[in-house]
């Protein structure tokens, strides 16, 4: 185990506490930069989605993980970013301009959602954000002069400084990666400065935050605006990646996917957003596999265990019918959320920390290290 000997306040401020971090993150960046030369085009495409989902995950972490304001409306922010890009593109606005415009517009709308949210907490806030998402979905479907209604909008190939950047080119991947990395660095900067600490203070005790001079309302609105703006930026990339957007892409299920990203990744650290994004993007190929290959495999297993030909075919069709059930994806999401909340509230990143600590302390790891204590002194809380 490494023991850090701190000699300067700088030691607690810098992003990489010691040289080991520089090496491992340097390697990670190198691998990510080399990825287009090694991976198949399908995996590259998945990797781009991981970048976009992780960006949204970071945005949601700022709001939900660090400020403690739950939101099931982030699909709407993504939609606003995407549609702003598609709309401005029609008028030949250059990419950098509509990219920033989408961020600013979504941020402004996020702040507007933040104001009514000031009076709401917990489940009521979730309901309010769901309503917001439904309103946006409806507007997208009805405001045909701008959004083209349910027919959707075509998004032209991204053109950066006069150079076309197709959605499956390495350059597009690098662009998404850069947006993700800049978002993460910006968020880390925020978290080590007064604003980030004010966010965490609001999450843990609004009364105490207020009595320490934190303008709770202002910071909640700020948190909403920042989170929405980042999601809007991700929305622009999302639109370009899909090259076609329509209202039914930005439903409640997408918002739930974003919640799963941070819930499964771990809500206490930015690592969680990235790990969760990998998880959620990779679950799709898994479901396809379930649909395509699973019935045959199970039928094969049944046949080897002595089932007749007809029985095996019967099993195969039943499994196939199950795998192509309509709500299966939603059901699997639900089960995943429940299992994580029950058994690993710290998410994948929390599990990783536990495994790491186990080997660092081996053989002295204590099972109770990560046990949360229950404290019963909160009887008389002022809200």
């Amino acid at each position: 185990m490494r023991f850090l000997f701190k000699t300067d306040y700088e030691d607690d401020i810098r992003l990489f506490p010691h040289s080991g971090y520089v090496v491992s993150y340097g390697l990670l960046i190198a691998v990510l930069l080399a990825a287009p030369y090694a991976l198949s085009s399908y995996l590259m495409s998945q990797l781009v989605f991981v970048c976009i989902y992780a960006t949204v995950g970071v945005a949601l972490l700022i709001l939900t993980g660090f400020t403690g304001q739950a939101s099931l409306g982030h699909a709407a922010f993504l939609a606003i970013g995407a549609y702003t890009a598609a709309y401005l593109q029609k008028y030949n606005v250059p990419f950098p301009v509509y990219f920033l415009a989408a961020g600013l517009l979504t941020g402004a709308i996020g702040a507007m959602v933040g104001f009514p949210a000031l009076r709401l907490t917990g489940i009521y806030l979730v309901i309010a954000t769901i309503s917001f998402a439904l309103i946006v979905e409806e507007i997208l479907a009805r405001w045909e002069s701008v959004t083209n209604g349910n027919e959707g909008m075509r998004v032209k190939t991204l053109s950066l400084l006069g150079v076309a950047v197709p959605r499956d080119s390495p350059t597009f991947y690098y662009l998404c990666l850069a947006v993700l990395v800049l978002t993460i660095v910006g968020t880390l900067n925020l978290l080590r400065s007064p604003t980030g600490r004010a966010f965490v203070a609001i999450r843990d005790s609004e009364t105490a935050a207020r009595s320490m001079g934190v303008n709770v309302a202002l910071y909640k609105v700020k948190s909403f605006a920042i989170s929405a703006a980042i999601t809007g930026l991700a929305g622009v990339l999302f639109a370009h990646k899909l090259s076609f957007i329509s209202p039914e892409m930005f439903t409640l299920q997408l918002s739930i996917e974003f919640i799963i990203v941070i819930l499964i990744g771990g809500t206490f650290s930015l690592h969680g957003a990235v790990l969760g994004a990998i998880f959620i993007v990779m679950i799709d190929p898994f479901l396809t596999y379930l649909k395509d290959d699973m019935p045959g495999i199970i039928a094969g297993v049944a046949a080897t265990f002595g089932a007749g030909k007809d029985a095996a075919a019967d099993v195969q069709s039943k499994v196939a019918a199950f795998a192509s059930l309509n709500g299966l994806k939603g059901a699997i999401y639900g089960i995943i959320i429940m299992l994580f909340v029950l058994f690993e509230p710290l998410g994948i990143y929390g599990r990783w920390l536990k495994i790491k600590l186990f080997f660092q302390l081996f053989p002295l790891y204590k099972r109770a290290t990560f046990k949360r204590q229950k404290i019963y002194v909160k009887s008389e809380r002022n809200r």
Binding site: G186, N189, S193, P194, T195, R197, A198, N215
Partner: protein, 252 residues
């Protein structure tokens, strides 16, 4: 003019008069204790000062300025910090970041500067950190810097809450039962710190306390309350011998 003044302060919940026309003044640099049986309205007075409640009537003045209508977060900016009876710390953050939140009223950087973590932000962070370290040294909190609040024992949390209030460099500090839940030694430490806060840091202290030995040791003056009204005011000995106070505590 007094340093801090409450005039005819009242807080009514329907027919219940939690605080009823209470007037008192705190002089600069003194330690004033408020005592009284449970439900006498002591904590309510604190919550009125820090604007968690809005007074039904009455005014509050601090440094000759009417602060009755100030927003809750502006109270801290004026230099009034407080602790809570039932510890209100930021549970899932480290001790250090808890204390740094105490520095919030001194932060001057803008959001965009923080996103880029400009040198000005870095320099400010170091200033904040230096101040926090001074408080950590003052209250002997060195072993706990990196610890999460959720894993710390009650007595330490109590001290950290005091530390967080001190980090804001207040002119007036409101201590809501600083010794509740502390053992004898911790209470002793607390009494030394309260006196040092007055003599070394020049902070005026307004304190709600049940532990009479602590009150006797540190207070310059004492106010006794019951049913939201002032029973007696004066030196600790005077107040304790006041017949109304004896009656309120022992029944008569």
């Amino acid at each position: 003019m007094s340093y801090f003044r409450a005039e005819n302060l009242s807080l009514h919940f329907g027919g219940l008069k939690a605080v009823d026309a209470v007037s008192f003044a705190v002089e600069k640099g003194e330690i004033l204790s408020i005592i009284g049986p449970n439900g006498a309205g002591k904590s309510s007075i604190f919550n009125l000062i820090s604007r968690i409640y809005r007074p039904t009537s009455g005014r509050i003045y601090f440094e000759d300025q009417d602060i009755t209508e100030e927003a809750p977060y502006d109270i801290a900016r004026l230099g009034i910090a407080r602790t809570f009876q039932n510890i209100e710390l930021f549970e899932n953050a480290t001790v250090l970041s808890n204390l740094l939140v105490g520095r919030h009223r001194h932060s001057t950087t803008q959001l965009w500067q923080e996103l880029l973590f400009l040198p000005s932000v870095r320099a400010n962070e170091k200033v904040h950190r230096r101040r926090v370290e001074q408080v950590i040294e003052f209250l002997d909190l060195e072993p706990y810097r990196e610890k999460l609040i959720s894993g710390l024992p009650y007595g330490v949390r109590k001290v950290i809450e005091l530390a967080r209030a001190l980090c804001s460099e207040p002119k007036l500090i409101l201590l809501d039962e600083p010794s509740s839940g502390l053992n004898v030694e911790e209470t002793d430490d607390m009494s030394f710190w309260i006196r040092d806060m007055k003599s070394e840091l020049g902070i005026t202290v307004l304190m709600v306390e049940h532990d009479m030995s602590l009150v006797n040791r540190v207070s310059d003056r004492v106010i006794a309350l019951n049913y939201g009204r002032v029973l007696a005011m004066g030196s600790p000995a005077e107040v304790q011998q006041h017949p109304d106070v004896v009656a309120a505590y022992l029944g008569a």
